[in-house]
Amino acid sequence: MSYIRQTSNGVKLKLRIKDREYEVEIKKEEQDKFKIKIGQKEFLFREEEGEEKISFARASLPKRDFFKKELLSPIAGIISEIFVKEGEFVKKDQKVLILSAMKMENEIVSEFSGKVKEILVKKNQEVKEGDILIVL
């Protein structure tokens, strides 16, 4: 059951999200300083301080973004062959593509294991150093 209750210096909420209940308290500590309490965790920020607000926003970012793995182009060149498809599972050190660069053929192998989420390059495409080739 959710509720919102006014307190002397803020509000108390009880929220139900999916199957979990959260007790949230927002209160003004002193002058422009605010405290948000979610369960046992406390977040402090000042009204005028952008940075504090950002750090709070970061804490609520979806977890999976931190685990996205990207294969980057080590040098500038041309993609001459792609060996994997989106949705395919690749192992660490598996050959994923060939990058022709500096008159050499460079086999790019995956640094991680994982499912290929996105292939951002096509055959014969020119790439620069640091370009994202494949997202796992």
């Binding site: 008159k103 050499m104 460079n106 086999e107 790019i108």
Partner: protein
């Protein structure tokens, strides 16, 4: 010099990449069934030619490109010093312009030409993860090849055709590898 010899292979570079052995090991084959060059273009590799790959020590990618050019330079130098075509040897009075056409030339960075035709192809292949994991340089030198198929006749030649005699493949192999090592030592000093 450690040499691993094969009668027939798909390609010496493929073998070298699969084995990932210690640096400077040589993979040598009498014949390749799928010899290839840049962009997987075919390299005519019948019995008689010299086909080998050198496993390179771990290096930075820029240095590997230099090594490829160095290998082409050494192949050209080996031909000129040890296997000069008759035109270079016996007619010192020929006009310089004429002699030049018989000098081995480097078509940067992958090919060596003799008498205006391709005599050697070089392909460096790297395996790269977070950094360069392994590198191999493949060299195909047309040594004792009597004749080429019709479609290659005008663009390819061999030492056998240019010199009119057979040469010793293993001796040339050693001359080239030693040449590369020496040159490498000189430039790294």
């Amino acid at each position: 010099m450690k040499i691993k010899k094969y009668k027939v292979v798909s390609s010496t570079n493929l073998i070298a990449k699969k084995l990932r052995p210690e640096p400077w090991l040589i993979i040598l084959a009498e014949k390749q069934t799928v010899g290839y060059g840049k962009k997987l273009s075919r390299w005519f590799s019948p019995k008689g030619g010299l086909y080998f790959s050198i496993v390179l020590p771990k290096s930075k990618i820029e240095d590997l490109q230099t090594l490829t050019i160095l290998a082409a330079f050494i192949v050209a130098k080996t031909i000129r010093d040890y296997y000069p075509p008759p035109a270079l040897r016996s007619q010192p009075t020929r006009p310089k312009k004429d002699i030049l056409s018989f000098e081995p030339l480097i078509k940067l960075p992958n090919d060596v030409l003799l008498n205006g035709k391709k005599i050697c192809g070089i392909l460096t292949e790297n395996i790269i993860g977070k950094e360069v994991k392994s590198s191999v340089i493949g060299i195909g030198l047309n040594t004792n090849i009597d004749k080429f198929p019709k479609e290659l006749k005008n663009e390819a030649t061999s030492l056998r055709i240019e010199l009119g005699r057979e040469v010793n493949n293993e001796k040339i192999l050693k001359q080239i590898v030693e040449g590369i090592k020496q040159q490498l030592a000189t430039i790294s000093e």
